[in-house]
């Protein structure tokens, strides 16, 4: 007669771990406190939250929902609808490779596979050492430089496999140096 699944099984199946790292939620409260009126402000609030943490942690999303009198599922809907929001921690560097038409015809595919090979990750993933996150995007608005990628806020154009390797090696070196400081 009974369903043979308990709530515990469900949690396990969904990959919910009971013990999670504690996150300081004070900044979230500060962001919401600074608003006069919360109505219609969900996206700016989530953007600010992401600026603080680098992504939108689940606990932060909970606080945002509760304090703005929204339902959690609604906030989740917004977070997943826009590609600008991220629900998992992201790498120290964000690498965006263009897969648009212009880049594609000028060899963008080799650049992308080189990046994927060097990083060992695919679209939307982050390296285990949190060095970088990689994503393919539709267009970076610099078709004249095709094939083009962006590393954080800098564009790198007219790439091929060799140039890509050099840029990535540089980036790794800079990162290591910066970490050592």
């Amino acid at each position: 007669m009974s369903a043979d699944v308990t709530l515990e099984d469900v949690k396990q199946d969904a990959g919910i771990e009971e013990e999670e790292e504690q996150i300081d939620l004070a900044p979230v409260h500060r962001i919401i406190d600074s608003l006069k009126e919360t109505k219609g402000m969900l996206i700016p609030v989530l953007q600010d939250v992401q600026t603080v943490y680098g992504y939108v942690p689940e606990e932060a999303a909970n606080v945002v929902a509760d304090r703005m009198r929204l339902y959690r599922s609604q906030v989740y809907g917004v977070l997943t609808f826009y590609t600008q929001f991220h629900l998992t921690p992201r790498g120290r560097h964000i690498i965006r490779a263009c897969s648009g038409t212009a880049c594609h015809v000028r060899g963008g595919k080799t650049v992308i596979s080189k990046l994927e090979h060097m990083l060992g990750i695919g679209h939307g993933e982050t390296t285990e050492d949190m060095f970088a996150s990689f994503e393919k995007v539709a267009c970076l608005g610099a078709c004249g430089l095709a094939p083009v990628i962006m590393i954080d806020n800098d564009a790198h154009g007219t790439l091929d496999s060799v140039k890509t390797e050099r840029i990535m090696d540089n980036l790794r070196e800079m990162d290591t140096m910066k970490r050592a400081e």
């Binding site: 469900v10 949690k11 599922s73």
Partner: protein, 893 residues
Amino acid sequence: MMVRLTIDGRQIMVDGHVNVLDAASKLGIHIPTFCHQARLSDLGACRMCLVEVEGMGKLQTACTLAVNDGMVVRTDTPRVEKARRMMLEFLLINHPLECTVCDASGECTLQDLAFKHGSAETRFKGKKRILRDHIISPLIDRNLNRCIQCKRCVRVCEEIQGVTALGMSYRGAATVVGPFMDKSLDCEYCSHCIWSCPVGAITSRAMKHKVRTWEMEKSEAICPYCSCGCTLSYNYRDNVVYRVTHAEGRGLNMGSLCSKGFFGYDVINHPDRITAPMVRDADGVLRRTTWQSALEEVARNMKRISRESGGKAVGGIASDRLTNEDLYLFQKLMRMVFSSNNVDTPSGLWSRTVVPVLEKRMGVRAATNSLDDLNYTDALLIVGCDITVANPISGLKVKQAIRRGGLVTEVNPGKTALSRLARRSLAVPVGKELALVKGLIKVILEEGLYDSETLGKYGKFSELEFSVRDKSLKEIARETDCSVDEITQTAREFAGAKKASIIFGETAVLQAGGEKVLEAVIDLLVLTGKLGQEGCGLYPILSGTNFQGALDMGVSPNWLPGHAAVSSDSERKRVEKAWNGKVPKDGGKSAYEMIQAAAAGKLKALYLAGVNPLATFPGGEDLEKALKKMEFLVVQELFLTDTAKLADVVLPATSLAEKNGTLTNVERRVQKTSKAIDGLGHSLPDWKIFSDLGVACGEEGMNYLNSSEVMDEIASVVPFYSGINHQILADNGLQWPFSRDDAREVYHEGYLGTRHLLPEGLSKDKQFFAAVPVWETHSADSKYPMTLVLGDLLFHSGSFTRYSESLNQLAAQATLLMNPQTGMGLDVQDGSSVRAVSTQGEFTVTVSYSEDIAPGMLFLPRHFKNAPVSALMIPGPDDQARTAIVHVRVVKA
């Protein structure tokens, strides 16, 4: 405004607010749709209802297109047909054709429409979208591959249930429906999403792969779990109920159900059901026997004890979940055959505590208004009640009122599901509700917000003014943990609203002095003139399914059927004449007094019908001793409960799904419930057992052919039921009083009985204002400083639902809910064990931290085996009815 339009060459006049889809359905023209559902907002998402409209180039979605005068619509052109075929082809790109294993097969809109319009062939080459789907809940299954993104589940969750546990996430072709962060469902398990899904994307795990939809027959009945009285549909095959479905648009619930109604059906065919009568043999063992020998055993012993020791040595307690017919025959049996007025329901709360106040103050013995009024209320005050638990579907009506802009103020010791929706939620400590209500009266008097007609009608308020003079609003605010502003605003909103009502619940009435709160609440209603009209009234809500019917049927030591006092000679004579038998003259004992008399050896025989005192009565071990001392104990039950194990004779009764009868809900609505399956094994409906037992005692007046015949007799004895019979109740029932004269008019459209009591206001001989002089009903004693509220959970009501495996998946154990602040003060951790100690007894229980409960308060669900609350509850002559509030001390175990 009415408009005329033409659909498929046929003309129709419709209201200007409807859409083309509804207008067409009025003409009997069926336009296919996935995303449209009655009671939900229209979305136009599925593009299945496309129609051709003259003068509009593109095809239009009928569900979002408002009718216009002179509009010409065609639903049957080749262009429309082509569009439908294409929509289906699109949907079938991803929808897996796994109808062979899908539980929705047979009642799937996509399956039906594909069958009608299209073929399973597709011109699209490519992979189907296949998503890994995990289990989102123990009872609700989601299959994203089958989902057609019609958003019905999301809308129903938000617009009807007000929970919004489901949402749409991601976008475009990647859109999926799911809970927050795609984790487990954290919701009320109302089952609306299962109901609304037009395909097999959301289904019930409880019936997964057990039965095919087309193999089952359906039968409408009334839900057995609370006093709301919802209509549901049992689906059964081979005498097994396999599921409950929502009876779309039917009943006062319009088809809506709660977790108990939808998932709680598995008690019906539970393997532990008693299926044959049992009699204790010479060795002291309960053995199965025939009905004849069991009934003879009961008849012989009950008659003998009644004869030898008098009717006062015999007593009976019947559950207020039984039908009117069951309850009527029960008290007739006890009174006429066993010469005893010792008849009661387990709590007796309604007849002894609430009704006397209602009677004295207003001359009514029930809720004054209809539940439907709640949908349209402008201001609602809820005192001592979590309406979403006590009466989940009435709770939905309150949620609708809030969506319409109704101002709801909750006064409850903890947060409820309404708290985040309501205008305000006042966490007033138990015992201080009275101060809050008096505070509202004070504001209304001081600001002159009272009804001027009231002043003319009922005279001066001097006494009332005097009663609220000795405390300032500031003091009241401090005592009730509210702000002065909250009290003032609530009073202004309530007094200023056109339609304002009060819901009054168990937490308020189940405490010593609870009737004082009720008196003050009535003062507030009289003062503001919120009585006797649509949308203005009082709803005292208890949880027992048929608590109102039990009083109407005379299951009370002091009341005969029809609220006739046992002490009145003329009333007694009237009933005696109808029965052609004798009714004992002296008033009887309440349920608690019977147990007490049993302990003292004065009560020798006890008949328990659907009652399990060991789970619900106070007294712990003393109670067990008293029951064991009984010379003769009969238990009529569905299960071999702890109490049944002590019985001399156990009689197998049927559940509500296995019998015909009527139930009277919280708004006086008498509804017919129909049998879906035959009684399991040898079990019989309760009324039939009472009838057979009466006959076995040699009383031919107890012989009835069916329950309809019993109702005919009830109609002849209970004046306000006099127009009622089973035939007249066929559709949605009707609200008493309903006399024979009313019955003659019943064919007028919309005639449903009496929707509102007190149309003339209070009669002149009533006490208009009680002007309660005190400010609190009780306060904690220093040795037992914590206030423990014993109550129901959304997923369980009474000890009966404990037999539902499905509901046990949602909540199987009692934990003591405590505010973290309280916990830290006591140095008690979340999840640790504590001893809860009252003056009466103690037990050990696990603590669960919850922000929802006010500091200093504790909450414990009753009726769980791991927390035998019976041991804590304090028995006393009047306290039997006051078992929801116990003062305790909590110490680390």
